[in-house]
């Protein structure tokens, strides 16, 4: 199994609020293969952002993490990220793992030129010897991410450029150190659809040319379908289904995945009403004995209320945690 870049095993994250421990991520496994784009899809509150933050070591102070996040470096070494101290974690962020966030406006320093901000990453990790070398590298990377006239835009300030351009700058900052993994947390949610299409294309292009893997976190199924090779579906802190992307959309098995896909309005369909998942996502902290989804599920059996389903391989590489799944497989 040495063709994986990152392997998460039984990751749990809980947050302390009002002296109570509230579980957010409840034991997930994930592996990100080399050179592939993995999607982590789920609705708000499912714990996907916390998962990303655990990898980067930027969890809030009130959060506690357990489990294993194993980094399998291209140079052959393996590191257990959860055991790293602050200093060593900082050495990973940038050179090995890059991150792109949702809101480019708040992630960029409004008082610094964008070129200097990208250059800062190089200086922090001591990847260049002097300013001119840094500037050269920055201009090259800005050009690579599709910023027109990179020499001129080096001196621009964030508020003077468009949202799409700012996101490109974020991507430049994330990839300039040539990391092996790019984590993108809702990278296109704040962007218009035409810009979104360009950014998705850019991410795929960067991954292919730099042999980078990516973990894309999103609630948008369209993004997953366009960009990802492999998908994990998350609900209330657990992975309900995982599969190669084509399989997930062709034969979604878990009732939650099916519900999610049928609630998306489609261009060439004209139903009277959209098919919806009844009820609401329960709040944090309400732990149930049985399956987290059973109260809203249309395929529930008696068993679902008392036992948590274990993951089973229904088709090749297609894993589902659901008691009713066996009835679904073709």
């Amino acid at each position: 199994m040495s063709d994986f870049l990152l392997k998460i095993s039984n990751l749990t994250v809980s947050v302390t609020r009002n002296k109570q421990d509230i579980p957010i991520v409840k034991g997930i496994d994930m592996d990100i293969p080399r050179g592939k784009i993995v999607g982590l899809v789920g609705e708000s509150g499912c714990g996907k952002s916390m998962t990303a933050k655990s990898i980067m070591g930027i969890l809030p102070r009130s959060a506690h993490m357990n489990g294993s996040i194993l980094w399998n470096d291209p140079d052959g070494s393996q590191t257990e990220i959860t055991g790293l101290k602050e200093k060593e974690l900082r050495k990973m962020c940038g050179p090995k793992i890059g991150m792109v966030f949702q809101e480019p406006m708040t992630s960029l320093n409004p008082m610094m030129k964008i070129g200097d901000q990208v250059a800062e990453v190089l200086f922090i990790h001591k990847l260049v010897k002097n300013r001119s070398e840094a500037k050269e590298k920055v201009i090259r990377t800005l050009g690579e991410v599709g910023i027109p006239e990179p020499e001129r835009h080096y001196n621009s300030y964030p508020h003077r450029i468009s949202g799409g351009m700012r996101q490109r700058v974020m991507i430049a900052m994330a990839v300039i150190c040539e990391p092996s993994l790019l984590i993108a947390d809702e990278p296109t949610t704040a962007l218009d659809v035409t810009i979104e299409a360009q950014i998705l294309k850019l991410i795929r292009h960067m991954c292919e040319t730099h042999n980078m893997s990516a973990l894309v976190i999103t609630h948008n199924m369209g993004v997953v379908s366009t960009l990802c090779d492999k998908v994990y579906v998350m609900y209330m802190g657990r992975i309900l289904e995982r599969a190669p992307v084509d399989q997930l959309f062709k034969t979604p098995i878990h009732p939650y995945t099916r519900g999610l896909l049928s609630s998306i309005p489609r261009i060439h369909a004209n139903p009277e009403y959209l098919a919806t998942i009844p009820g609401n996502t329960p709040e944090f902290g309400k732990e149930t004995v049985g399956c987290d989804f059973c109260l809203r599920c249309s395929d529930d059996q008696r068993r679902c209320f008392f036992e948590k389903p274990k993951e089973a391989e229904i088709e090749k590489d297609h894993f589902v945690s659901c008691f009713s799944a066996n009835n679904r497989s073709k």
Binding site: E43, S44, G163, D192, V193, T194, E196, A197, L200, H219, N220, M221, G222, V223, S225, T226, L227, D246, F249, K250, T251, G259, L260, L261, S263, I264, P265, R266, I267, H268, N270, P271, E272, Y273, L274, A275, T276, I277, N280, T281
Partner: protein, 262 residues
């Protein structure tokens, strides 16, 4: 959908001042008719002027030039007591569920406010009854009445906003990106609710969104905007099957497509 025109925008222009003393034209000499009983969507990317146009129609702001005709009467220049009767006919559901509800008011008071402003009910009991009725219409539990907005999820907050908007039986409901901030499954519930309410209450609906798939589901007619101008306006089926304007085609091609089994 009737042939009667409810709202007309005639040569409406709106601009905003820029720091360098120039002005940015957000709505550019735009004309548009909206029919009674239809759901008309304004679609476009950020900055195209769709939200501004909605706010002009709602008279939250006034146009620099042009007329806004409600049932034939020009309301563009009206204010104060002359405008007030029209306020009753148009209501809005906002984009951000969190900031569109006063955080210091209970749900009861939020929904009852329009009833109180327009003196619709005679006493507390009647107000309570009407608020309960509205909560039921938006599929919220009765117990919601004594709680505060922050105790609810995004979708539930949006339901409260909808209840407030329909409380005084408006003729026109404007939904400004009302589902954009919601999760997919919640979005579907709210879209269904809006469709159902529109049918049951006989509302006309102006729906603003950047999401073409959502717009396709809910609209009778679709108006595509770009840079303050209308690119194309046609019934929903035609726009998607045969987009005639280049920009419409560009928008449609950009949607990340889901490769379903079909």
């Amino acid at each position: 959908m009737s042939e009667q025109v409810l709202i007309s925008a005639r040569n409406v222009t709106k601009s905003f001042p820029l720091p360098n003393k120039k002005r940015r034209i957000v709505v550019n000499n735009l004309s548009l008719d909206m029919f009674k009983g239809e759901t008309l969507s304004l679609v476009g990317e950020s900055g195209c002027g769709k939200s501004t146009l909605a706010r002009l129609i709602m008279r939250l702001t006034s146009p620099d030039q042009g007329e806004i005709l409600y049932d034939g009467v020009n309301i563009a220049g009206l204010s104060g007591s002359a405008l007030k009767p029209y306020r009753r006919k148009m209501q809005m559901v906002f984009q951000d569920p969190a900031s569109s509800l006063d955080p210091r008011m209970k749900v009861r008071d939020i929904i009852a406010e329009p009833l109180k402003v327009w003196h619709i009910c005679n006493n507390k009991k009647e107000i309570e009854r009407r608020v309960m009725e509205l909560l039921e219409m938006v599929e919220l539990k009765e117990s919601a009445i004594d709680r505060y907005p922050h105790e609810f999820s995004g979708g539930q907050k949006q339901r409260i906003g909808i209840a407030r908007a329909i409380a005084i039986n408006p003729e026109l409901l404007i939904c400004d990106e009302s589902v954009s901030a919601l999760d997919v499954s919640v979005q579907a519930q709210i879209l269904n609710l809006l469709k159902r309410l529109k049918r049951d209450l006989g509302l006309s609906c102006l729906f603003i969104s950047h999401d073409l798939s959502v717009v396709n589901f809910i609209s009778d007619r679709v108006c595509v905007m770009n840079d303050g101008n209308i690119c194309e306006i046609a019934d929903a089926e035609s726009i998607y099957a045969n987009p005639s304007h280049e920009y419409t085609r560009y928008l449609l091609s950009a949607i990340p497509h889901i490769k379903y089994a079909e």
